[in-house]
Amino acid sequence: MHLLVVVLNRRIRARVLAVTLTAGAPAAAQIGATTRADPTPAAPAASSAPRLTQFVQADYPPAALAQGLEGSVLLELTIDPTGHVTQVTVAQPLGNGFDEAATAAARTFVFEPARRDGVAVASILRYRYRFSAAAAREAQRPRPRALLRATVRGRADQPVANAAVTLTLPDGSTRDATTDAAGAFRFELEVVGDMRLAIRAEGFDALEVTEPVADREDVGLTYRLTPARPAAPAATPGSPVSEATPAEDEDEATVRARRPPREVTRQSLEFREILRMPGTGGDALRAVQNFPGVARAINGLLIVRGSTPQDTQIFADGTSIPLVYHFGGLSSVVSTELLDRIDFYPGNFSARYGRAQGGIVDVGLRSPRRQGFRFVANINLIDASLFAEGAITRNLSFAVSFRRSYIDAILGGVLSGINAVSFTSLPVYWDYQALLEYRPTSRDRIRLAFLGSDDSLSLILNQPSEVAPRFSGSFSTGIGFHAGQLLWDHTFSTSVSSRAMFSINRNAINVGGGDVFGLNLNFWNITGRYELTAQVNRRVRANLGMDLTGGPAEIRFNGVRMPTEGQQPNLQNLARVSTQDADTLYRPGAYAELEVTPTPRLRLIPSLRVDYTRDANRSWAVQPRFSFRWELARDWFIKGGVGVFNQPPQPSQSSSAVNSFNPSTTVGNPFLGTQRSIHYGLGMEHNFSRYVSLSAEGFYKDLDEQIIAQPSVLGAAYLNSGIGRIYGGEILLRHRPSSRFFGWLAYTISRSERRDSPASTYRIFQFDQTHILTLIGSYRLGRGWEVGLRFRFVTGNPTTPIIGAVYNGDTGTYTQIPGASYSARNAPFHQLDVRIDKTWTFRRGSLNLFLEVLNVYNNANPEGVQYNYNYTQSTTVTGIPIFPNLGFRYEY
């Protein structure tokens, strides 16, 4: 607090008040400058002095700073009734450039004006601007770019004090520290990259590790030292173990404090990988498609280990997202800037996840920054997005993001000359996310999140199709959702914590196709989830949870029976369906999972999940699961698992609504049961170094009770008549991001087959791809340049050949005669994508410009076969030709 003096300005005769009050300095006092004023007698209580609300740092005269000169300048400021400084007079000069610097800064001060009887009046203020050389030097000192802090623990998880820590920076220079009584140490880093740490403490073996530290990263670690033994080898970086798991076997040296997955296989992407991965445009969820086990799909579908896209669930912190990509893969519906992590589980996933028999993608939204403010703008040829985050108070922070496409603006000009199509509403998508996070105590984190997305398109086909002339006229699609989510993480004690989540989604899907097809689906998805985690003892950790999903749904539908996997939609021949219906879904589930570590090298995770589905014939699904992870030798692991995974039918498949076309039938089959899949997996992992790892896994999935649309127009619409088998192997050789490079080589070989009824034979799965090879690499050249490439080679998708056609006299068109289902294949797909980034770093931000070129050598990849009107001619439909995308990302 500083005293300010306001004296009467005799030149201002009216509405001028002489007051003297105490006033605060700027909330965040600037380094190198303080304010001070001379005291005068107190003013009448009904009036107030001007109060400084916006302080501006003066530039310290360089010559004066070099000589170590300092002192203060007394200024006389004239402040108008709006609080702005209209005149600055030097009342007591200091010279050496200080007077000019102080005057220039003071001119831009903003005050809350002086008041007399509540009315703002002009005033004159004497203000002393002090220059401190020491503070100025401190202000000019480079700010740390990252923070590396850690705690060192020893026997019985006790902190190790007075341990000597030596940090070797990437340039070879070293810095030293000593752990405090709590075993803690920290380094503020002006450079980033690979940091080599050496920790020595009496009575323990020395520990040497290398930690990659990225720009603006706050790395928090726990190291556990091995008690010294005469023959004990020096500890080396080992496998990750739980931060909460004490080092229980003193024969083991556990080094890195990060929890291992509860699943057999979890692939996670780091932020730099997401941003710089070629071929994804910096879009996080599209990056997932490059993992082993994920088939290539041109429309953004996630086909995981031979399962249908509907079999893989996408979560955002536990809330199921109905839509993953805008317009079939242009970009994902959640901003990459908001992502903390993307965890991808191709199979044998935790009991925490239910109602999915394929895989899981769990998108974690990160906490907004709790200090300062950050702003990011992303602009490319397709869309633009803005992101901002910052602290509101010490415990309250926020993040907001908004994106909108402008392909409507581009298409509007290009399509205006095309007669076949008239767009009544050009394709537009947008999405938003908003987070508000509150940490009332160190044990609690409460977050309120809002997410939403909308895709819309409306057009008129001016020319009836030759294949289905009636399928003409206006077409429209509108898919959107709005979700609100409340998340509460609470730590009861060092061994017990919980997470509670409640979300409400409002989803709307509207599709219209001429006078043939119409769908209006509006439904609420209410999700509740609670998980309690407890460290039962040194060897057992328990995760108990329950979740509930459901809500009211309203559907209006007129079209044909929705086909299931492998069936071709045919508007002319399938069963006509028309209905209006309202229903309420109710699907609760509960699970229990134990993480047992009988020895530090072995982890056993038995679990049980039970799901109830009211709309699937009130069925119960009991799903036992088991996985393990065993460190055979240092950095060599064996992992495996087996489990049961049930998935309820889609609401339209189990609907009991009457089909208006045939009142004796229903739209779905209310007696359908849940689909089931048994996952088997066995694999190994080896860490060659901190960065390079190799994993290989074989898998087998046994499917039964699969839902198949039935050909009968009078009997049940759907039956659990299908079975399937999927088997294969995956290899991932990965180099995690270092200061220069990241990349991976992923290879998957698999075969996925289905049998739709007991009377039929096995056929190839619709998206079966025998070989999937993905090579990704990105290298920092220096000076802000980074170059990356992605090469993919994938077996062509299966196709069903058309062996003939008959003329349909009722419609005037031809009906194809298909050959054996998926008995042919497209030619293999191969494509090279290249990405070049250039980043400029400024004092308060950075600008990244990227050029991404898809299909560099312009390979004509076959994506399907197109036939003429009577199926006597055909041509290959090729995929995207060479396609450049240019964009930039600015971060402040």
């Binding site: 030759e466 002339p469 119409g518 209006r556 007129n558 009968s712 008959v806 003329y807 995207i880």
Partner: protein, 310 residues
Amino acid sequence: MNLLRALVAAGCALAIGGCGDELAPAWQIRAFRLFGAKIENITRSAADPGVTEAAPGERVRLTLSYVDPATTPRPVNVTWVFCAEATVMGTTFGCSARGLSVLTGPAVTYEVPRIEFSVDPANRPRIQIVAMACAGGTVALDPSTALPRCQGEGSESWVMTRSLLVRTAETLPPNHNPFIDRVGFILSGRPLAEAMVVGDETPLRVPRCTTDPCIEHSFEVGVAEGSREVQSTFDLQGNRVMTPERLQFGFFTDKGEMDNTFRVDSAITPNGPILNRWMAPREPGPVRLVFTAQDTRGGFDVVERTVVVE
């Protein structure tokens, strides 16, 4: 702008799955073609001509419409198979074994059997009809597939499926065939009112193409009043509604270029003129034209015309 178009085309390809080469359009008559089969209830024809449905015991006449552009005229043998429609999709041509009947000839008369019918998805019983038309050959049964096959060197064939709605206990009025009563030719730039009638006896003479690109003229097809009947159907929200039929028109030719094969009545102007642009060929000579009209309940009409390009 070309670059922009290329980018957008690439983007569209990314979104919708790519692009293919040009394929032969449906309006082009290059080989033996079927256009449909007209069904007329001859039991009721005196009192109510043009009915496309029939009750058990009633007789219907079916006339196959086809064009064979072969330079040397050749016989067209047609075999018809009638059966009660199966309710399970995926069976051969949707046929069940009940009520099976076989007839031959381009035009046949069929009596609906007095059997019990199951119903189709729209709650209507149907007779399923399969016709094989064989130009320049004979129809025989293929022993390996048990399906009819056209035999004979150089022969061409098509199989056509058709259905006949069987009236059992319905109270709705029966459907009738639309009737094409007018084909007009409109020279480029002339108003609709100046359309020249394309008669079926004296061929209309039209100018050949002498410019590059060719000038587009238009053909207009009109149907008699009452061709667009009111029908019971469902709207997109699943409500049963009574709406006028929207007719589908087909335009086919062996020379020149049609703008598009089909036109469908607009939902906004259901009785508006049905126009299709046509570019005359550069070579003079006769041009064969086929125009069709059909509804969604079995109603069908076809006319064939010739114009002379000079």
